[in-house]
């Protein structure tokens, strides 16, 4: 039975963030709200884990917030069920189906002799009366947030068939006055860490495929220069600082090299460069602007933006034979292509009238669907499961981040107090 779609269900659901907004948190911490509901949602009851109230972090609260934020789940209130089940065997399925829950999560948090805790959880199908997953983790209490995200990832994957991305991280740029910060945070906006600060603009952060480094562009030396910075050590090195402008870094899927836009030989053109800055190699020669490269997941082709046809459009370069094919035809401004992780399509920004919106195109059908309705939506970045697209938008004159599902149904807004935020980059799945 498919429940009726609830497009843009008006509930404004604010992620439970109250605790973490301690005074020490950077002001660029993101707060995420859902501003549009999805179609079909899975009704799920998450029973507070036995023993979790003894710890300062509401473990099941984090799991529930993750799932609700995805727009694909509806949380069923477990209040009143007595006694609360903590193990799979304790669950009386009729109690949950009567409340409309199709899935039930139960679990426990048990202290260990060494100070760590054992977190056990079970995911059950209340309708088929079967267990879908059961896991146990022994972790330090300080690991509750990542453990909760991992549990949410497992539930998401079991119930939707797609990988969960709650354990991933995002990078973004915050601007406060004349100060720019490159930050990395958990996918729910928590734990923002400042990676770089500058009094000159920062832009175009991109994660290395293994999630250990971020390449970005800085104007600190009065021109665009590309840096690569290690997240573990904070050390950075210049990737490209040639005569002219150096920008638009894009990692190859194997992380060994990047595609970049350089103007060192005249005009903005595409080059390959090794991740240590060596081995610069020109990809193409055109009299036009070529920029915004993005590798296909198989590394065999590159999407890029070019005005070779008279207006900025998206093209595909096949690396094996150098063939170039135009991919967008509708409209006079189609830019910023990013592949979907399954390689079957790409998202991009199109201008229609005076508006800039994120759209998605399928390679096989060439069909285009516009996903967003803002006036200035830009810099899309696709989640590693391909289901959500983060992008920069504006609200009341301020830069915010927003997310939309790849079918356009689920919409989220991510704002940071007192900062303009922009240039989001979704990190890879943790190894």
């Amino acid at each position: 039975m498919i429940r009726p779609p609830r497009f843009f269900a008006a509930l404004v659901w604010i992620a439970a963030l109250a605790l973490a907004l301690a005074s020490t948190a950077p002001r660029a911490q993101l707060t995420i709200e859902i501003i549009g509901g999805g179609g079909t949602t899975v009704p799920i009851a998450i029973v507070p884990f036995a023993g979790e109230a003894n710890y300062p972090y509401p473990l099941t609260g984090i799991v529930g917030a993750d799932l609700a934020r995805s727009g694909l789940f509806k949380l069923i209130d477990p209040a009143g069920v007595n006694p609360r089940p903590a193990r799979a065997d304790d669950v009386r399925f009729g109690e949950w189906t009567a409340r409309g829950a199709d899935a039930v999560v139960v679990g426990s948090v048990t202290p260990q002799a060494d100070g760590r805790v054992e977190v056990r959880f079970f995911l059950l199908d209340a309708v088929k009366q079967t267990q879908l997953a059961g896991f146990s983790y022994v972790v330090a209490p300080s690991q509750f947030r990542p453990t909760a995200h991992k549990i949410a990832d497992i539930i998401y994957e079991k119930l939707t068939g797609d990988a969960g991305v709650f354990s991933t991280r995002i990078a973004y740029i915050a601007k406060q006055g004349s100060r720019y910060e490159l930050l990395v945070a958990d996918s729910d906006g928590y734990n923002p860490q400042v990676i770089v600060t500058s009094n000159e603009p920062l832009l175009s952060p991109v994660w290395s495929p293994d999630g250990t480094r971020i390449a970005y562009v800085s104007l600190e030396n009065k021109k665009p220069i590309i840096y690569v910075q290690s997240l573990a050590t904070g050390q950075r090195q210049v990737l490209a600082n040639f005569r002219g402008s150096n920008s638009a870094p894009a990692w190859a899927p194997d992380g060994s090299r990047l595609a970049v836009t350089l103007s060192r030989d005249g005009g903005s053109q595409l080059y390959l460069i090794n991740a240590d800055g060596s081995g610069v190699q020109r990809l193409m020669s055109s009299a036009a602007i070529d920029t915004e490269a993005n590798f296909a997941p198989d590394g065999k082709s590159i999407l890029f933006t070019s005005d070779r046809g008279g207006s900025p459009q998206i093209y595909r370069l096949t690396l094996g034979n150098g063939a170039v094919e135009r991919m967008t035809f509708d409209g006079s401004y189609n830019v910023s292509p990013r592949h979907l992780p399954d390689g079957k399509g790409f998202v991009f920004v199109r201008r229609d009238g005076g508006r800039f919106n994120v759209a998605i195109e399928d390679f096989a059908t060439r069909q285009v669907q516009v996903l967003t309705q803002g006036t200035i939506d830009e810099s899309p970045s696709v989640a590693p499961n391909g289901k959500l697209i983060l992008y920069a938008s504006a609200n009341g004159g301020r830069g915010i981040l927003a997310a939309v599902s790849s079918d356009g149904r689920v919409k989220q807004r991510l704002t940071a107090a007192a900062s303009d935020v922009r240039e989001p980059a979704w990190g890879p799945l943790p190894k």
Partner: protein, 190 residues
């Protein structure tokens, strides 16, 4: 994806507790929590002043006759004190009204072989940040090419782009955009 009903879950039956997978699980978790991103924070460009309008607000103009007359680049009556070339939306075509300015700077470079300049291209706030970097670069390259035709040499001119990142006018209307679609000429040492 999820339009398939929740009845179509993949019922991979994970009978029992996969304790075996757990050790690996908690290892990963611990790695995640090491917060590996906070160790060092390079602070960059902390004292770099805005460069976009260099030359038009030179503090060297102290009003002494010798100061202004001695430096044609700063003499407000000299065309060389004019440093900005403005463009139409989405365009890098140089309008005729800027040709005397471009020619004058080119001739200055031709006669002052030690002089070096940077042409900084800029774009208005509409559209992709990276495409605007390329558009600003194109605007700077176009003016450079004209200067080469007028007698400057390639090594004297570096062209760079700030895209839409350093707007002269922070407004969001046509007047601001007009002001921000611009090349600035900055001489070395200014």
């Amino acid at each position: 994806m999820h339009q398939s009903s929740h009845r179509n879950f993949r019922f991979t039956l994970w009978a029992g507790i996969a304790i075996a997978a757990l050790l690996a699980g908690c290892q990963t978790t611990q790695t995640t929590d090491k917060a590996p991103v906070e160790e060092r924070t390079p602070s960059t460009g902390a004292t770099t002043p805005g460069a976009g309008t260099a030359g038009t607000t030179g503090s060297a103009v102290t009003g002494t006759a010798a100061g202004t007359l001695g430096n044609p680049l700063r003499d407000p009556r000299n065309v060389l004190s004019k440093r900005s070339v403005y463009f139409d939306y989405d365009s890098y075509a140089v309008k005729d009204e800027y040709k005397p300015l471009i020619e004058a700077h080119a001739k200055y470079l031709q006669t002052t072989r030690t002089a070096r300049m940077t042409i900084q291209g800029n774009a208005d706030e509409r559209g992709s940040r990276e495409y605007n970097i390329a558009l600003g670069q194109r605007r700077a390259d176009t003016v450079k090419r004209m200067m080469l035709l007028y007698g400057a040499t390639d090594t004297q001119i570096e062209t760079v782009s700030f895209g839409k990142e350093k707007p002269k006018n922070s407004g969001h209307d046509e007047a601001a955009w007009t002001e921000n679609r611009r090349d600035d000429v900055v001489y070395a040492g200014e």
